[in-house]
């Protein structure tokens, strides 16, 4: 009797737990598990979106890794954006945040100036940048030439296209600036006063007071930055199209990555393979690579968080 009661209690507890978890379970199943399992499934299938999929084994994997000429350049570019752009965005965002917290007059003006670019839609912002950096008519190169400095080809030169994208990313630093500013204003003043009394220099105050205090925010900025960089699609595509002179009209076939595949990213390949080439299987392979990379970066950062986030954070 008591065993039956215990079993039914356990079952009721399990059901109750399940009921409480159900909103999450449904969300997890619909928005994560289903797409992920579908992606894995289709990566082994030949599927053009019209006829029923057929088993193709590892053909799509072999194609993407060995024969698809855009994959490795796109992977290299994506990793470049993750490492360089994310690092610079965090450093620049923190720097701007620090500067603005130190400004005594006109803080509102500076905050607005740095935040406004973030509000610009990505396509408009990229087109504006492509106009400013146009090597033939852009004001940036005109100024550089007048100053006797070399004028780069920016989005038209494979050596400069990624730095140009990074400049664009730094221009839209407003979101990070606000987050860092809030974190910096939250650091207890008495800790700075104590450090000053101990004779700490400005750098030491930053290193041993500010940085530990805002380390969770730095971590947040890095992780969200990595995810953003992994999903980078619009800006390189628009910049490449504008610089190449291709106006995307109906019927115009444009291979992304201009110039010389230097602005290719993995999300562009997913679109190119799946929706333009009707090769869903290979698109799923690239999507899975992107997923695994995102997970690996996040796991690596979380393992390293001990160095960034102090106990009690």
């Amino acid at each position: 009797m008591s065993t039956v009661t215990l079993a039914s209690r356990r079952r009721r507890a399990a059901l109750r737990t399940l009921a409480f978890m159900s909103p999450w379970l449904v969300g997890f199943a619909v928005f994560f598990a289903y797409p992920l399992l579908s992606t894995v499934y289709f990566s082994f299938m030949h599927y053009d979106g019209f006829a029923a999929p057929t088993w193709s084994g590892g053909q799509n994997w072999g194609y993407v890794f060995e024969h698809y000429p855009l994959f490795w350049p796109a992977l290299r570019n994506t990793l470049w954006l993750v490492l360089v752009t994310v690092t610079l965005r965090v450093v620049f965002g923190l720097g701007v945040g620090l500067l603005i917290t130190k400004v005594r007059t006109g803080t509102g003006v500076f905050r607005t100036l740095f935040y406004l670019p973030y509000l610009a839609p990505p396509v408009a912002a990229t087109m504006a940048f492509a106009f400013l950096l146009n090597p033939g008519t852009g004001p940036v190169d005109s100024l550089l030439e007048k100053a006797g400095l070399p004028a780069p080809g920016w989005f038209s030169d494979p050596a400069w296209s990624k730095p140009a994208l990074t400049l664009l990313a730094l221009w839209g630093i407003g979101d990070l600036m606000v987050v860092f500013m809030a974190a910096l204003l939250d650091v207890p003043r008495e800790q700075y006063e104590a450090a000053e009394l101990d004779g700490a220099s400005r750098w030491q105050r930053f290193r041993y007071v500010t940085l530990p205090a805002i380390s969770p925010i730095v971590m947040f900025a890095v992780v969200t930055g990595v995810i953003q960089a992994m999903q980078c699609y619009t800006q390189p595509l628009v910049a490449g199209k504008v610089a190449s002179g291709v106006i995307q009209g109906a019927g115009v076939q444009f291979e992304p990555g201009y110039p010389d595949r230097s602005t290719l990213t993995l999300p562009q390949l997913v679109y190119n393979l799946g929706f333009q080439r009707f090769d869903y299987g290979s698109a799923c392979v690239v999507a899975l690579v992107l997923f695994v990379l995102s997970m690996a970066f996040t796991a690596l950062l979380m393992r390293r968080r001990g160095g960034l986030i102090q106990a009690g954070d």
């Binding site: 399940l18 599927y47 053009d48 019209f50 024969h67 033939g136 995307q248 019927g251 929706f275």
Partner: protein, 447 residues
């Protein structure tokens, strides 16, 4: 809070995800609808097209109005400004709001549309209507609307590529007539080029492959290339036409100032579809372009006289001067449509009714897509437009063949063009072999 997830929860979660995984296998694939509708009954069909300019939309509306007048029981819901990507999605999804009839600006997708079954085979419809496509459409248009025996599209107006030239600049440079061979073209391009500092006061010709319509297929049309051999393998490395075409283009790039200088100049030019197009402004003296450029150039009121001619041919093929590259818009019926007989009535009217084709060509300023319409006295055009009509009717004019993966092989060839003109690839023969291998691999992947 339990420390571990209860086993019941774990089992439920597993069952849920597994069932969803199984669901994915059940949700795929579509079956095409049969042509079982009665086209004589009152019905409404959806027609998606890509035209967007007000004058073009007006021409489409006029075409459809003519159809509705001839078929009072069939009403057409027209949706314009549709890109190929949007059309592709709609063809997959189907449904009441999806198109029954589509038109696309590119012939490149025909192979994909046919092989995937996205558009229905029109052969039975043509047979039922006693229309022979081979005697109705010009040869290149007849070719680019079918793949592997499946005619999933019909030509809906065509595009012919020719040479626009600045007659005033020609006279100033002492050039008497438009070039007929590539050697003459090369010499003229150099004579017409006036350098100014690091740029140009006038460039004879913009040879870069990013110079808008200066794509590999448009150039190579003049060399009458064979893209695929009888086994369906890429002939890019075998047919000397490709090597000749690439060599000519690279020589033009080098002789006219080099890749970097030309690219820098290109960055200063207006866009292809705006009034500041470099041919309109006189910055470029010769332009490889389609028949629509004439109207656009005249609208821009240039300060020079516009000349039109067929593109040059290789020196050893001078007798073939007059041919050109042909492509165009295509129309087809969605496999998901449940009103395919009514849809066919619209496609038949738009693509084979001579007066309808002529009226539409007059409205859009494109080349008519039937042999009868090309000769119709109702065709209105500037005398210079006749050049494009002749190119379209020239039996030696060529097109690019449909492929199972659409125009991917053209993108691959174009990529070699970018690499070769910029100096990234120096060994052209090796580049052509690699390109051919890539094309074959891509096609094998798509099959």
């Amino acid at each position: 809070m339990p420390e571990v997830i209860p086993s019941g929860v774990r089992r439920t979660a597993f069952a849920l995800t597994a069932s969803l995984a199984l669901l994915t296998t059940a949700c795929t694939g579509q079956s095409g609808a049969g042509a079982t509708d009665d086209a004589s009954k009152d019905t409404t069909i959806n027609f998606w097209h890509a035209w967007s300019a007000p004058s073009e939309v007006k021409a489409v509306d006029s075409l459809v109005a003519g159809f509705e007048k001839a078929h009072p029981n069939i009403h057409v819901h027209v949706v314009g400004d549709m890109t190929d990507d949007k059309i592709n999605q709609a063809l997959r999804s189907g449904g009441d709001r999806a198109p029954d009839v589509i038109s696309s600006f590119t012939t490149n997708n025909v192979g994909k549309f046919c092989s995937s079954g996205a558009l229905v085979d029109l052969n039975p419809f043509f047979e039922k209507s006693h229309i022979d496509p081979a005697t109705t459409f010009p040869k290149p248009m007849n070719e680019y609307t079918q793949y592997d025996g499946d005619r999933c599209a019909a030509p809906l107006l065509g595009d012919a590529y020719g040479l626009y030239y600045n007659k005033t600049a020609f006279a100033k440079a002492g050039i008497a007539h438009a070039p007929k061979t590539w050697s003459e073209f090369e010499a003229d391009a150099k004579k017409l080029t006036v350098r100014r500092g690091d740029g140009y006061a006038q460039l004879g010709f913009m040879p870069d492959y990013h110079g808008w319509e200066s794509t590999t297929e448009h150039y190579f049309g003049q060399f009458s290339p064979t893209y695929f051999d009888k086994r369906g393998k890429s002939a890019v490395a075998e047919d000397p036409a490709f090597e000749k075409g690439f060599t000519l283009q690279k020589r033009l790039v080098d002789e006219l100032g080099g890749f970097r200088r030309l690219e820098r100049f290109r960055a200063t030019l207006g866009d292809e579809w705006g009034p500041r197009h470099p041919f309109h402004t006189g910055q470029v003296a010769m332009q490889l372009d389609g028949e629509w450029r004439l109207g656009m150039a005249l609208d821009a009121k240039p300060k020079f006289e516009i000349g039109v001619a067929p593109l040059p041919v290789p020196d050893d093929q001078e007798g073939q001067h007059g041919k050109g590259y042909i492509t165009g818009t295509i129309a087809g019926i969605a496999a998901t449509s449940h009103k395919q007989n009514a849809a066919w009535e619209l496609v038949k009217y738009m693509t084979t009714d001579t007066d309808a084709v002529v009226g539409f060509a007059n409205g859009i300023h494109n080349v008519p897509s039937t042999l009868a319409a090309l000769k119709s006295p109702k065709l209105k055009y500037d005398p210079r437009f006749k050049t494009f009509l002749d190119i379209a009717a020239d039996p030696l004019s060529t097109t690019t063949p449909p492929s199972v993966n659409g125009g991917q092989y053209l993108v691959t060839i174009q990529q070699l063009g970018y690499d070769y003109e910029s100096g990234k690839v120096t060994d052209l023969k090796a580049g052509l072999k690699k390109t051919a291998a890539q094309i074959d691999t891509d096609i094998a992947q798509a099959k």
